[in-house]
């Protein structure tokens, strides 16, 4: 398994008490596999992404990336694994305002001296070869999200995590982005987790899971997921 969560517990301070957000959550995603995660607002979906993406340490449980348990690894190691093995895609595209499309990708290559992925090829893959030198302010929401996907794929990560990547887009644009993510999961053989409020945009996930009461449950009727 490329991404494995085992018995993850996350609590946050809630006044004098502690509020449990993830309660024994377990998940396993292999290469070329795409998992859709839904759940009501506040159910802990972003927290799940943060824990999987090594942005947040769980109170208990293990996070394994390519077999390595990183839940207790030092910050430095976690940053390196984030850089080399994890691609993150956010709700708002989260691009750097001062960088052009191609520079968003070059920055990632710069963080990791070793990356040999060609930035132009990447933008080609997401269909943006004619938007190389535009800044985020000059791109549409869909185009921004494509740049963000291309950026996440720099360095060929084994794990791709997307937190509501289509929330800021209209339905048609949302379907395009989801289709792109599904295609890239197959071609790049990434272990992909997509959190979404609109699971119908995703045609054929390998599994659709619903996060409720801190744990993941299988769903059959994906359109029934509450918005």
């Amino acid at each position: 398994m490329t991404l494995q969560l085992q018995d993850i517990n996350v609590t946050v301070a809630d006044g004098p008490d502690r509020l449990t957000i993830l309660d024994g959550t377990t998940l396993a995603v292999g290469p070329g596999e795409l998992i859709a995660v839904t759940g009501v607002s506040g159910s802990g979906k972003s927290t799940l992404v943060a824990v999987s993406g090594l942005l947040r340490r769980p109170d208990q449980g293990q996070v394994l990336i390519d077999g390595e348990d990183l839940s207790d690894a030092p910050d430095r190691r976690r940053a390196t694994v984030r850089r080399d093995h994890i691609g993150l895609i956010f709700q708002s595209a989260n691009l750097f305002p001062s960088l052009t499309s191609i520079q968003q990708l070059e920055l990632v290559a710069h963080l990791d001296g070793k990356i040999t992925t060609d930035d132009r090829d990447q933008l080609d893959t997401v269909g943006l070869s004619d938007r190389l030198h535009h800044r985020p302010g000059q791109l549409s929401g869909g185009e921004r999200q494509r740049v963000a996907i291309a950026r996440a794929l720099m360095g060929n990560p084994s794990v791709v995590l997307a937190d509501e990547p289509t929330a800021a887009l209209d339905d048609a644009r949302g379907r395009e982005i989801m289709a792109l993510l599904a295609e890239l999961t197959t071609t790049r053989q990434t272990a992909t987790v997509v959190v979404t409020h609109a699971p119908h945009q995703l045609h054929d996930p390998d599994h659709a899971l619903r996060l409720a009461e801190g744990a993941l449950h299988p769903t059959t009727d994906r359109d029934a997921a509450p918005l």
């Binding site: 972003s46 942005l55 940053a79 694994v81 850089r83 001062s98 963080l111």
Partner: protein, 360 residues
């Protein structure tokens, strides 16, 4: 510094504004440094240019010429050991009337013709003849060779026999004369053999301090003797206090700017960390950006200070040396970097999970 450099280029306007503030502080520091050096210089430049290494004053006079009085025995004690490397000096302030009725201030320095302080040939002749050799500054007041100056008080008239680069002492331009003439003006008919101090040229290998002590004198190095110049100590202290304030203010300005800038960038820093940048990388990025702004703005301010200094040079004593300019600039940059340390702590603590929250 990939992101830092591109941020600088794209957000030019914002950085220019902060740069302008830092440049103004630097300009102020440059101008003050020039005026401080100029003012302090005005107090002692005459003493500094004399080819002496030490000055012996009467015991307890605290390197003030006006409070020190020495006689032939003390001079002999020095000349026995140093020969021509010891010369008696008298230095007093006078007013003199020019032929057209104006009054000028003189710091009148008397030394025997032929002494090492009057080594200049033309100067020697002039001192021999009992006239005045004036500092160049007097030429600016319209005084010419051949004019007669009447020293107010003793009402003795002395001819101007030459000009030299003499500098000033206690903010008054120096006029050279023979020790004999000086003694005439100061003591009249009494105590004709007394003078203020003995100027020394250290030949090496002689225990100058011991000679001074055995003969009731205090020995000062040249720089140590500056303190005796009227106002020198107070001026130096005031100026260094002002400079200290400037450095502290500049550290605060830069620190405050950097903190605000860091708070604004918090989300971006979180995103960088989420993409896998180490804390070291993020800190280097931010510090590099700050160092570029600081260095550019400080250098700009100093260049303008040099330009402005050359404009006001005539009116106000102003002197900027490359050395003090560079050290002022370096001090400002170091102070700025120190001021930014507070913000650095913030940067190291930014949570990478911020990248998941929507941008403010």
């Amino acid at each position: 510094m990939y992101l830092a450099l591109r941020d600088l280029l794209v957000a030019r306007g914002r950085f220019a504004l902060v740069g302008a503030v830092i440049a103004l502080v630097s300009l102020l520091a440059g101008l003050l440094s020039g005026m401080a050096t100029g003012l302090v210089d005005d107090g002692i430049s005459g003493l500094r240019r004399l080819p002496l290494t030490h000055v012996a004053f009467q015991e307890g006079s605290g390197s003030e010429f006006s409070r020190s009085s020495l006689g032939p025995d003390q001079l002999a004690a020095w000349q026995d050991r140093l020969g021509d490397d010891a010369a008696p000096v008298g230095l007093s302030f006078f007013n003199a009337r020019t032929p057209d009725g104006a009054t000028v201030d003189l710091a009148l320095l008397g030394t025997p013709p032929g002494s090492f302080l009057a080594a200049d040939e033309r100067g020697d002749d002039a001192l021999e003849a009992g006239g005045l050799v004036l500092s160049d500054a007097f030429a600016d007041e319209g005084i010419e060779i051949g004019d007669e100056l009447t020293v107010v008080g003793p009402d003795i008239t002395l001819p101007v026999l030459g000009f030299t680069y003499g500098g000033s002492y206690g903010h008054v331009s120096i006029a050279f004369t023979s020790l004999e003439t000086w003694q005439n003006l100061v003591y009249g008919e009494n105590h004709r053999d007394r003078f203020n101090a003995v100027a020394l040229r250290d030949p090496g290998g002689v225990d100058l301090a011991a000679i001074a002590e055995q003969n009731g004198m205090d020995l000062y190095t040249k720089a140590g003797a500056y303190d005796g110049s009227p106002g020198f100590a107070a001026e130096s202290a005031t100026m260094s206090l002002i400079r200290t304030f400037l450095v502290v203010i500049s550290a605060l300005v830069v620190g405050a700017f950097f903190t605000v800038w860091t708070v604004q960038r918090t989300h971006q820093i979180g995103l960088l960390k989420a993409l896998g940048a180490s804390t070291t990388y993020v800190v280097r990025d931010a510090l590099g950006q700050l160092a570029i702004i600081l260095a550019t703005a400080t250098a700009l301010g100093m260049v303008v200070a040099v330009g402005a200094g050359s404009l006001i040079g005539g009116e106000v004593p102003f002197r900027l040396e490359a050395g003090s300019l560079i050290s002022s600039a370096a001090l400002l940059i170091v102070a700025g970097m120190l001021g930014s340390l507070v913000a650095l702590r913030r940067i190291t603590r930014v949570d990478p999970a911020l990248a998941l929250t929507s941008q403010p």
